[in-house]
Amino acid sequence: MPEAIIMPKTGMAMEEGVIISWKVQEGDVIQKGDIVAEIETDKTAMELESDCAGTVLKLLYQAGSTVPVTAPIAWVGEPGEKIPDTHRQESEKITPETKAPEPQSPAQFAQEGKSSVSGPGKRAATPAARRAAGEQHISLDRITPSGQGGEIRERDVLAAARSATPLAARMAEEQGISIEETAGSGHGGKVFSSDLPGSESIRETRIPLTNIQRITGERMSESIRTIPMVTQHMDLDVTSFMEGRKELNSRRGYKLTINDFVLFAVSRALAEHPRMNSVLEGNEVICRHEVNLGAATATKRGLLVPVLKGAQSMGLLQISQRMKKLAEAARDGTLTADEMSEGTFTVSNVGMFGITSFTPIINPPEAGILGICAVQQLPRFMNNELKQRSIMGISLTFDHRIMDGAEAAEFMQSIQGYLEVPLSAFI
């Protein structure tokens, strides 16, 4: 009468085991105590000894199969003995997701990789591998199996597990970051705190945005996303203006900057072109009668825009003095909220950096922004003669919903008038 070798129950909680490999073949003659297979439980891997002697008549499962405890896995007896026909029913007890498909050869199995999955998202794995994967929070899908039947073994899980430093593990846990999905820079892929997203590493320095930078960034992004903007560039011949300014400054002993004149010219031009000093609300353009001129100012904490209120009725000197105070306050960080609000138009001067043209972004909800560029000494034809002239670039960005290019060009021409022929301010 043939005897069965069964899947042993090695612990109270053990319900099934995996045949990792067979150490015998059908037809082999074995003695009691011979190693017939290597099996793995959820706790350990072990060698299975035969309780009986004789010829191996039948191996009931392929290596890699998961078998319930106490189920026969092989029959041993005299050659030619008939073996009981009970094992098929037993084999049905094998849990579907872990059962290795029997008809396939191991080679086919390995080749097809994921196709060995018999349920959706499930992979053949030993119980120990499943436990380890659970402990390490690793998805079995990521693991390359090494089992003979294509099943994932515990050692595969451990090899795939990313280790992390205690600090990285604490940080990852608190921040809900998966260590498993983090590429580690340490030996063997060990995850260090610097590998976690958002942390500092020696290869780079992370500088948090200041509040001002963050708010400016948000506003600029919003502006670019929502306003159809156009930028137009124009060159102004400011030769006589520059000479006049020089003379005025030397006579009065007070330094009026190019910017002061530009702000003055813009305040007058805005009064002449109310649509440039407006805001779009629904289907209406609301033109403001007050010209509140913002002047973009770079500070250590970020870009600030102090606002010169009621500029349309200020004289040049008044604009200059008021602007000087506002700029100082901006740099010292003492600007009040009131001094930064209710702007109707903005001027951004980058001339001192030698910039010759740029595309400023509108400070919403304003209708336009004027960029002031560097004054260059350039050759220009005047009455068919080549002359050295002082040329200043201006770059105007405007909201195309409020006006079109021609209207914007007229506004630029007004500024051109004031700066090329300063006497026009008297008109």
Binding site: T165, P166, L167, A168, R170, M171, E174, F192, S193, I202, R203
Partner: protein, 468 residues
């Protein structure tokens, strides 16, 4: 006949010789140029000879403090040092180690060329009095030199550099030490033990200004209690000889009389192996990136010459990094991976009696950047230290509150030069105070104090009374 090689290294100090060994080990044909003795400042004029003398000082302190152990010494016994013999012993120690380096380089197949090397480009090194070297990348490891103070009288023969004072054959009766940094303190403690009366003059408000304030303060108290005079915020106007004496005049009007003066105001990069404009320098140091590469591709500058961290052990690390990246450039076919030098966890050590050691951020620095917790363990509560008769000092652990990340460890006491390594390793491996507090340390050992300090940081120290 000009030399050719893959990697040329200028300088045979800690950065240079390690770079040469590493480059050679990676398969690069390597030539090292050294004008003097191999080993650099550390071995010939710095770390090693002072450690030899520091051990002598420790012996003397121990002998003087041995009656409580029941050791019977002849009445009126006062240990004295035969400086002639001491210098011979010191030189013997240094020779043994320098010949070791020569042997090491030879064993690794590094060719050593004697002479003053100067880089012309990343592919050419000129050597005074020898053939030029054609190479594929250059490692500049020129090291550092002593800072020269603009003090009148500093050129007097009784004013010594930290290198020269190691060779004097009599112990001066009165020694004035200019500079209260690591070098100044070490030599001050040595000669104080040898019998000199010592004055330390430090320009800043505290000695060991690069250490945590707590350590500086405790150390100051300890030195004063031993009878060493400290003059902090002391600016020397001039040094005048009077007979055999030197008179140091300070800006506050006070005077210090000495028989010998040590000028130890610090060290600065030695740039003579670098032609001007070849590589970018800033504040007298060669600028390098974390790969140790200079602004000139193919030229690397590890060690003191880049001023990043002027310590021999940092130089070893930087030298190795430079070698890997230089060999990678010279031999692209080998597929060597780029390497960086992470200098965040470099221990600083003062080898005095007792020792001071530190790694990571000072408490004040840490406080600026993080919410911190700190733990302290005094050596007076450490069994081994008390049995040793060295109960002075403490270990402090500074950690980030949120995760327990160890930000800095500061120690003053027996054997802390060895204990600080454990702290550095734990910090580099990101072990937090929570784990350290639960790591079993051998008992009784001095290093237990580190674990106890970590436990104190998380309120779990069982060898200290509860905090109020």
């Amino acid at each position: 006949m000009a030399h050719t090689c893959d990697v040329a290294v200028i300088g045979g100090g800690p950065a240079g010789y390690i770079a040469a060994v590493k480059a050679s080990k990676l398969g690069a044909e390597t030539i090292l140029v050294e004008q003097d003795t191999l080993g650099g400042t550390c071995l010939n004029r710095g770390c090693i000879p002072t450690k030899y003398y520091a051990k002598t000082a420790e012996f003397i302190y121990e002998a003087k403090n041995s009656a409580w152990r029941g050791i019977v010494l002849p009445e009126g016994f006062s240990p004295a040092v035969d400086m002639k013999q001491a210098v011979i012993g010191k030189d013997k120690t240094v020779r043994k180690l320098t010949s070791g380096i020569a042997g090491l380089l030879k064993a690794h197949g590094v060719q050593v060329v004697k002479g003053k090397g100067k880089a012309v480009s990343s592919s050419l090194v000129e050597v005074e009095g020898a053939e030029p070297i054609h190479c594929k990348s250059v490692i500049l490891a020129g090291g550092s030199k002593e800072v020269q103070l603009p003090i009148p009288g500093l050129d007097h023969p009784q004013v010594y550099t930290s290198a020269a004072i190691l060779d004097i054959e009599t112990v001066p009766k009165r020694l004035a030490v200019i500079g209260g940094g690591a070098i100044g303190i070490e030599i001050a403690v040595i000669y104080h033990a040898f019998g000199a009366s010592v004055d330390i003059i430090e320009l800043t408000p505290s000695i060991l200004p690069f250490f945590d304030a707590g350590i500086s303060e405790t150390f100051s108290g300890l030195l004063k209690s031993r009878g060493i005079n400290l003059h902090t915020e002391g600016r020397i106007e001039k040094i005048t000889p009077e007979g055999d004496e030197l008179i140091l005049e300070l800006a506050d009007g006070s005077q210090i009389t000495a028989d010998a003066v040590l000028a130890a105001a610090g060290r600065q990069p030695e740039l003579s192996s670098i032609p001007e404009h070849l590589v970018r320098t800033e504040k007298g140091a060669v600028q390098v990136d974390p790969y140790m590469e200079t602004s000139q591709p193919g030229i690397f500058a590890p060690g003191d010459v880049n001023g990043k961290c002027m310590l021999a052990h940092a130089a070893f690390h930087m030298g190795e990094t430079a070698a890997v990246n230089a060999a990678r450039r010279a031999l692209p076919a080998l597929g060597i991976e780029r390497q960086i030098s992470d200098l965040r966890y470099v221990p600083s050590i003062v080898y005095a009696v007792p020792e001071a050691a530190s790694v990571g951020m000072k408490r004040a620095e840490a406080e600026e950047r993080f919410e911190i917790i700190t733990g302290t363990f005094p050596f007076s509560a450490n069994g081994r230290a008390v049995a040793h008769g060295s109960p002075e000092g403490y270990i402090e652990v500074v950690a980030e509150q949120r995760y327990g990340r160890i930000l800095g460890v500061h120690a003053l006491g027996p054997s802390v030069s060895e204990i600080i390594q454990e702290a550095a390793v734990l910090m580099a491996m990101e072990v937090t105070v929570h784990e350290l507090a639960r790591c079993i340390h051998g008992h009784p050992t001095v290093s237990e104090a580190l674990m106890e300090a970590a436990a104190d940081a998380v309120g779990e120290c069982l060898h200290l009374p509860p905090k109020q």
